[in-house]
């Protein structure tokens, strides 16, 4: 092993912070990481300033793990900056990988989000019409806050990404595996995964690991999980509960379906699938058990929010990426 510790940075974009927690959730392993690495930036764990990063030489960082999507100019700026400073740039977690939950906002225009957040929200003080502006003058001082973009981007729509670790958040085991793979590659002890690879996940869909019994599928009615008494041993889809497992990469350990919650697809599409939502749509609608258009419509009423379900973690990664409402 080389004497020099690996230089790493962990940073976040539009994120909830769960990904950071998932890294911490590796428990003692974090100590091994610490032993191996110098954590040069990790806002969650240590102080760090923009200028510190700016001061780094290009490629000074061995790895940057960035989670969170790109929602505003700060996210973009930092993504670009860290990319420049890093040898390997990892998109960590569903937001970075596909846009994630923040990406759902792509289905509505920015104006609507602002209106909802700052104007029409019931918790807003009556009469308060304050909307943040990226540039404003207060008491003669020009103030600037990051610019809120029209839409959310997944990380690789902004910068070049070397590897992806999916999950919302990535499972600690997978996190560990991904870090080990990177370390292996950097230290020359293991072969580097090809650029663009999804590490910390498997190639098959979730059903492969799901222990529920699967038979041939025909759906007469869709249910919300709370609408029926679930059979714990039968495929949720067969019970009429929309589950994205069949269209989602495995790697999460089937945690949701195991606890009676349908998969929502945070691990992203299976390899070679262009659009996770479209694929799920195709599969789910194909197995509807009816040949009558009216009955089909009636059955589909059981899926009132299909779009946001099927693209929950990946609107920016879908083919259409965002709403195109004029």
């Amino acid at each position: 092993m080389a004497d020099k510790k690996l230089q790493i940075a962990i940073y976040w974009g539009a994120a909830c912070g769960g990904c950071d927690v998932s890294i911490l959730d590796t428990n003692e392993f974090i100590l091994d990481v610490d032993a191996l690495c110098d954590v040069r930036l990790w806002p969650l764990a240590a102080d760090g300033k923009y200028k510190d990063v700016e001061a780094m030489a290009d490629g000074e960082l061995d790895v940057t793990i960035m989670h969170g999507a790109v929602r505003n100019s700060e996210n973009e700026h930092m993504a670009k900056l860290l990319r420049q400073k890093s040898k390997i740039f990892v998109a960590y977690g569903s937001c970075a990988y596909m846009g994630g939950i923040p990406g759902l906002a792509n289905l509505v225009p920015r104006e609507e989000i602002f209106a909802r957040a700052y104007l029409d929200n019931p918790s807003i003080e009556p009469g308060n019409r304050t909307v943040p502006l990226s540039e404003t003058t207060v008491n003669g001082h020009d103030l600037e806050i990051p610019k809120f973009y029209d839409r959310v981007y997944k990380l690789d729509q902004v910068v070049d990404v070397d590897y992806y670790v999916p999950g919302c958040p990535p499972q600690p085991d997978q996190c560990k595996a991904a870090i080990l793979a990177l370390v292996g590659a950097l230290t020359g002890t293991a072969e580097a995964p090809p650029k663009g690879a999804v590490v910390g996940a498997f190639d098959r869909a979730l059903c492969d690991d799901c222990q529920r019994t699967k038979t041939e599928k025909k759906i007469k009615r869709f249910y919300r999980p709370w609408q029926i008494m679930q059979d714990p041993d039968t495929c949720l889809m067969e019970q009429g509960i929309l589950c994205a497992g069949s269209a989602t990469r495995s790697g999460c350990g089937v945690r949701c379906p195991n606890s009676g919650i349908p998969c929502r697809g945070c691990y992203g599409p299976a390899p070679n699938v262009l659009d996770q939502g479209a694929k799920l749509l195709s599969a789910v609608s194909s197995i509807i058990d009816s040949k009558d258009p009216q009955e089909i419509d009636q059955i589909l009423e059981g899926l009132p929010d299909f779009t946001s379900f099927a693209n929950r973690y990946g609107v920016p990664a879908s083919l259409l990426q965002r709403s195109h409402r004029q």
Binding site: S73, E76, L107, K147, Y149, D150, R151, Y153, Q157, V273, L274, D275, G277, A278, K279, L281, S282, V284, S285, S286, I288, S290, K291, P293, I296, D297, L300, L303, F306, T307, S308, A310, S318, L319, L320, Q321, R322, S323, H324, R325, Q326
Partner: protein
């Protein structure tokens, strides 16, 4: 100059593609805006194709299959029939005008019907104007 929409047509081999051929052999003239891609059955049409076409700059997508009950493969067209309403809902959620994507049943003897559908669709899409998807996505990337 009037706007000439680009429409991608996905046609099943047995009924609709044959119907389109019949329009040809019958010399029925219609708008040149639909470019046809042949698939064996409308059941082969993955919603991804439709999104891909829109993503790649299509102003509209036309899907044609055998009439219900007529499918060469017994029930393929029913699969399309089931996907369509959900696809329409998804497109609506993405803010795509509903006239941009259309499913029609065209039999092998309905050359005229095929031509009528193409003309009608062309007119409707023309009225909607060019699809902004491709340019919008390009703009998204260029200037944030």
């Amino acid at each position: 100059m009037t706007f000439e929409p680009k429409i991608v047509g996905f046609l099943c081999n047995w009924c609709s593609y044959t119907g389109a051929d019949l329009a040809g052999t019958s010399r029925i003239h219609y708008a040149a805006n639909v470019r046809i891609i042949r698939v064996m059955c409308s059941a082969r049409i993955d919603p991804t194709f439709v999104l891909k076409a829109l993503h790649d700059g299509a102003d509209g997508v036309l899907i044609c299959g055998c009439h219900p009950g007529d499918c060469h493969y017994s029930e393929g067209n029913y699969k399309m029939m089931r996907r369509y309403p959900l696809l329409k809902a998804l497109l609506a959620d993405y803010g795509i005008e509903k006239d941009r994507v259309r499913l029609e049943w065209v039999s092998a003897s309905e050359g005229q019907r095929f031509a009528d559908i193409v003309n009608d669709m062309t007119e409707r899409v023309r009225a909607l104007g060019p699809s902004s998807i491709k340019t919008a996505l390009a703009t998204d990337m260029a200037e944030r």
